[in-house]
């Protein structure tokens, strides 16, 4: 089998998506740790457009963008567990929510980087995003596609897990369990999946790392 390498840097939320997908599928891979302040020539060669991690390299051929990588993994290793629905309509539905996570999930990262009025604005965006997912995306299903975990869960996983830490770092409270009962149940179920549980950054360590990062951002602003 052609060799699989994952170029990444922990604790990037986008890298975790790929780790989870590879481990759920049982695909062996080598993790190549990148120093983001000093990107390797190889990374720049593999991702000349965005110069970002994660990059999956399969048999020497690079795939970039975490959700593109996830669909590639599902199509290349279609064995169980299946991470996308079988029929085109449900797949289109899953892709809709994956795109929503990509387009609207950014509110979380923007929140992390902002203060004052901008923070108020990004909080509002984040709340709207959560409300839409709570009502229209998840509903009362256990996972986004039903009983089993799939790519949509991997798309939202880092957004919600990181949000729980970012709230503490920024000193706000958005993701309240009485407001988002479905999402709260979902993230608990998500974290209990063995592959996920074994491959999650520790929230206390993440808190320390993100606090430091936010201080650096605020200082250079």
């Amino acid at each position: 089998m052609a060799e699989v390498k994952l170029h990444g840097a922990l604790p990037s939320p986008f890298v975790y998506r790929v780790i989870w997908a590879l481990k759920l599928k049982g695909v062996p891979y080598e993790f190549v740790s990148e120093d983001l302040s000093n990107k390797s020539a190889l990374l720049l060669k593999y991702n000349p457009v965005h110069k970002k991690i994660p990059v999956l390299v399969h048999g020497g051929k690079p795939v970039c963008e975490s959700m593109v990588i996830l669909e590639y993994i599902e199509e290349t290793w279609p064995h169980n567990p299946s991470l996308m629905p079988n029929n085109p309509y449900d797949r289109a539905h899953a892709r809709f929510w994956i795109k929503f996570a990509e387009d609207k999930g950014v509110a979380i990262w923007k929140m992390f980087r902002s203060t004052g009025q901008e923070l108020q604005n990004t909080m509002k965006e984040a709340l709207e995003m959560l409300q839409t997912v709570e009502e229209h995306g998840l509903g009362d299903k256990k996972f986004f596609n039903g009983d089993n975990i799939g790519l949509v869960d991997l798309a939202f996983g880092p957004i919600v897990y990181w949000l729980q830490v970012i709230e503490d770092v920024v000193g706000v409270k958005l993701f309240e369990s009485h407001k988002f009962p479905h999402l709260h149940a979902w993230i608990e179920n998500f974290k209990q999946i063995p592959v996920i549980e074994e491959n999650l950054p520790n929230q206390d360590e993440l808190l320390v790392a993100l606090k430091l990062r936010r201080e650096q951002l605020m200082a250079s602003a």
Partner: protein, 231 residues
């Protein structure tokens, strides 16, 4: 044939680049469909129901079930109607490359177009630079993806990238006329330019792209009234 079997409807808007993508795909595949023109200032209740999250066009309705987001609709069409030309290759690696570039066009390129048309003065000058940068990246990317140059395109050989390039750049003359900026410069982007020339010759494309004068009039109206494009 039972009533409602394989019933396809498209809620679209005649000037929307996203709507055009879907029309191109339906025609390439030879899928009969009913077209419903939406007035974006007065959206139909059906549209609001079908696309409750974004309330936008295009929406494809297949046997009563709605599919939204133009690129997602393209993949849906390819997976559902498997006879006729394939819009995407079978190979997962090639599919990943196409998805990467579709995402680039959507987020990076369109993002910079939007900044260009919604800014003024110095901000707009920066936006122009950004557009040229992104076009450079796209030109280079397409050169690498298509090392033999642009393949022959016709009504039977028409894939997702052809659809995206047609819908984005096909009406370039109207854009140039209204915004006074040559984005699709043949000297800077020879591959993209020659690709668009080839695409615009195809009868399928001529039948779908918005009429030049009508598009110019709409874009002038948007520009003069400082409106933001809604889809």
């Amino acid at each position: 044939e039972m009533e409602g079997e394989n019933e396809v409807k498209l809620h679209g808007m005649w000037a929307s680049t996203y709507s055009k993508r879907v029309e191109l795909a339906l025609r390439v595949k030879g899928i009969p469909y009913e077209y419903i023109e939406e007035d974006l200032r007065n959206k139909s209740p059906l549209l609001l129901q079908y696309n409750s999250v974004y309330k936008k066009v295009p929406v494809l309705v297949h046997n009563g079930k709605p599919i939204t987001e133009s690129y997602i609709i393209l993949e849906y069409i390819d997976e559902t109607w498997q006879n006729g030309p394939r819009l995407l290759p079978q190979d997962p690696y090639q599919r990943a490359q196409i998805r990467f570039w579709a995402s680039f066009i959507q987020q990076q390129l369109f993002g910079s177009f939007y900044k260009l048309i919604s800014s003024n003065g110095e901000e707009q000058e920066k936006a122009v630079e950004e557009v040229f940068e992104k076009m450079n990246v796209l030109e280079k990317g397409m050169k690498e993806l298509l090392p033999e140059g642009v393949p022959e395109v016709d009504g039977n050989n028409f894939g997702v990238l052809d659809i995206l390039v047609t819908a984005t750049f096909g009406p370039y003359k109207a854009h140039e006329e209204v915004f006074g900026l040559k984005v699709l410069d043949p000297e800077k982007y020879p591959l993209l330019f020659s690709w668009v020339q080839k695409l615009n010759e195809i009868p399928l494309v001529k039948g779908v792209l918005p009429p030049h004068d009508k598009l110019v009039a709409l874009l002038q109206f948007i520009k003069q009234n400082d409106l933001k494009p809604s889809s």
